[in-house]
Symmetry: C2
Amino acid sequence: MPRAKYQTIYQDIKQKIETGEYEFQKLIPSENSLVGIYNCSRNTIRRAIFELAEGGYVQSMHGVGVRVIYQPVSPTAFSMGGIESFRESAIRNHKVPGTKVLNLTNITVDARIAARTGFPEGEEVCLLQRVRYLDGQPLILDMNMFLTSLVPGLTVEIAERSVYDYIENDLGMPIVTSKRRITVERVTELDEKWLDLGDYNCMAVISGKVYNADGVMFEFTQSRHRPDYFSFYDTAVRKKL
Amino acid sequence: MPRAKYQTIYQDIKQKIETGEYEFQKLIPSENSLVGIYNCSRNTIRRAIFELAEGGYVQSMHGVGVRVIYQPVSPTAFSMGGIESFRESAIRNHKVPGTKVLNLTNITVDARIAARTGFPEGEEVCLLQRVRYLDGQPLILDMNMFLTSLVPGLTVEIAERSVYDYIENDLGMPIVTSKRRITVERVTELDEKWLDLGDYNCMAVISGKVYNADGVMFEFTQSRHRPDYFSFYDTAVRKKL
DNA sequence: GCCGATTTGTCCGTATGTATC
DNA sequence: CGATACATACGGACAAATCGG
């Protein structure tokens, strides 16, 4: 439940768009009208509209109005966007998630790992490897490394549920920024061992570094997706320089 | 040259971060100090900081300050992010771009194309197919479809340079929003015919719909990238609900 | 543990500029 | 030209989080 006023307005307008009350390609009420509707200042309205534009819901047009550009996406495949846990994504895509933990051990970062992940050499990290199932099919091979000092007490039970739940709710450490990179890599023996790959010789790979509110990178993650079940959405707004 | 004050401040701070004047993991001056430095209101400073946070340069911490979290990326492969033309990306990645136009014809949208692109059936579109070279190697197969009514007068010469330059500068139509989807697909005969693929049997595919300032989709685009030269960056900030 | 200083987060009201129609 | 609508900017107020004494 958002307590900031602009969040409430954002949610309300977003819902009106998703239910079709504000129609695709039509204009929503002008900022000044919305000021009256929500009984707030224009700055607050603008903040809400700005976030809607970022999410690909609307587009502001100088001197004209704010147009709805949202259309529901066809849920053909599993899709990822924003910072979401596997469980959150699965539920949003109406799939039944499953998880098998392959490995959960503490290791010390050596030079090779440090170069690949960005963790400082000598740090203690917890290595977690999991196979992810959607509707019973093994589709994703997940590798996570957590800084043991910031994420202590990981167990197989937590890893089978949602590590993010544990970090945010139980440890009370807010997750803030995440830098991700999407690449396509050759399949490895591990991929072939655990996933049903058919004759694909490539995997879609999302590598990410996750930072907490202190700006400390506490997680490195790599998700290897079977190509035909991988789909990543992104809405970009061109900056005027 | 940005003319808005917050843009100038954004550029200035960004440059100070990139050159290391504002160090990685350290705090930048407080908002109130920056108000003095740039002789402006706090809202203007906050706007600039907000954009820096979106770009993955800084992270605001309530009650503490604003921390620099930017580290230069290793330019190992061709990378994409935001809305950029091929030329812009190539130059940013210090590669020499090249283009060969395979096809430039006007077609009418039939049912099959309409379903795949989202263009209305019966519309006139201009179909453009190009091979993209980086430092002489054929790596990307591009397919674009432009609404003829909004993007008239395309020629092979323009297609060999930058179509976006033509649209924005010559036609004066600002490009605003772009919705993209990244998938991994099997190689096609066309891929094999025009690109050096080795034994890869998959391609990284970026499909996108581009909207102008009127909220009209005027372009559908599909870029097929050779896997080992594909890399997509994204910085996400987790929203607090 | 409390208090006060500092810093960011939210919100308001107003003024002015610019683009569209 | 005038009316409307979004864009930028200012200045002020208070809340919430953090940190040091």
